[in-house]
Symmetry: C2
Subunit: 285 residues, 2 copies
Amino acid sequence: MTTFTQVTVVGTGALGAQIAFQIANHGIPVCAWDVDDQAVAAAQARLQSILTQYLADVGDDHRKAAEEAVARITFTTDLTSSVRDADLVIEAVPEKLELKQKIYNHLGEAAPDNTVFATNSSTLLPSQLADATGRPERFLALHFANHIWQQNTAEIMGSPRTDPAVYDNVVTFASEIGMIPIPVRKEQPGYVLNSLLVPFLNAAAALVLRGVAEPETIDTTWRTGTGAPMGPFEIFDIVGLRTAYAISSTSHDAGAQLLAEYLKTNFLDKGKFGAESGEGFYTYP
Amino acid sequence: MTTFTQVTVVGTGALGAQIAFQIANHGIPVCAWDVDDQAVAAAQARLQSILTQYLADVGDDHRKAAEEAVARITFTTDLTSSVRDADLVIEAVPEKLELKQKIYNHLGEAAPDNTVFATNSSTLLPSQLADATGRPERFLALHFANHIWQQNTAEIMGSPRTDPAVYDNVVTFASEIGMIPIPVRKEQPGYVLNSLLVPFLNAAAALVLRGVAEPETIDTTWRTGTGAPMGPFEIFDIVGLRTAYAISSTSHDAGAQLLAEYLKTNFLDKGKFGAESGEGFYTYP
């Protein structure tokens, strides 16, 4: 028996759908909410492509179990009923503060008092949303990464008002659904992974912007020097250059501003978004 | 026929001895200089342990070739005669500006006019040494990493006065001796690898110092999130905590100063220097 036995995922975009699949794939029924029938249809299609990608990664002998997992996910456009029986609600709607606050106001009214709320937000702090939930002690961040079954870290970060027992339960639950729990002990922007990635990628970009070395040279250096499978510009392409632009253009750091300009001029304006678009620092088949 | 056919390595410490071995192991005779008989004896012992480590890495069927390589290295304590026939002199004496300048003054007098000089300095810029060589256009940095045959990058960085043809010859030579040449196009402290490593390691340390996460958690996050074989604190232990302290304590950055203090109190003062001493962030057999 898992710590939470009925989970609702609110928002079924790229990551929301993967979260629903990962949980269902560990035997837990998931209710998936999105805003209208069109969004639900898109999510159902997305689940099929997740299934394909997952089986390509883990092998076709997992097909039956994975198809059962998909069948364990029910869809709804009714937010109130979606959380009526939920032990845990994981919110993965777009990164807009007001949208999330509005959703949490609604969820706070609709869900049972003891339901735990977790946001997958990458950019907002739990403290910015805690009041809107009406249950700050039962609210925290549970942050997943894309390609969830492979890059299976789940970063858990509370606000100062999160109940430590709730925090611990979510850490346990993360393990139960096949994630490696990453306890983040103090609320801060960027969690752990991005707190390392952002300065690392900025340092790499600064070398290019200052004309010190070419991206390929820098990647070779990092791979050879540290044994890593990817250098910083290969990571840029995977993260996506639009995401990198979004992060750097909103930074107050002068170097990050230069990077944003460089990405826009040399890549975004030319339709080069990284691996997803077939071209970024490198080209992809 | 390699670009340079007679090489002198000046200074036979940990890296100087590996450089001599790497070059000799590619068929080129090497003259190795150090300051006195005791230093030469130490270098000869060091070569034997390099041989052992190298064969453990690449397999004992390379023994004959590797022993021939060692035999291709001759030792001397006479700096003048050591460079009389050298096409290329690689300097790897301790990182003291005045010592290096004095050595280059001597080398500049003793070596043929067309001999190229390369410093392995990690911390000094070629510009700081160029005048002392008396041949700034034939002088640059050729920077190797420890465990040279595995972490086989050679970063090549000129001063603004380095002749581009000399630069290109050294890039070619780096390939000829089994290195991956990393052309650094603009003189700057830290070359490429350390320009990435230092901000990366500082960011990781900042998370620990601010109480956000434990070293093990951070390492797990990085390994899982990026597929790298080592996280930042595993890298700290390999780099060595005395080296990390030396770099951070001389930085003007406030975060680096905090890191230096943390390393001193929690590690150096307790004799924990990282992997080399058996204990750092982790323990080693």
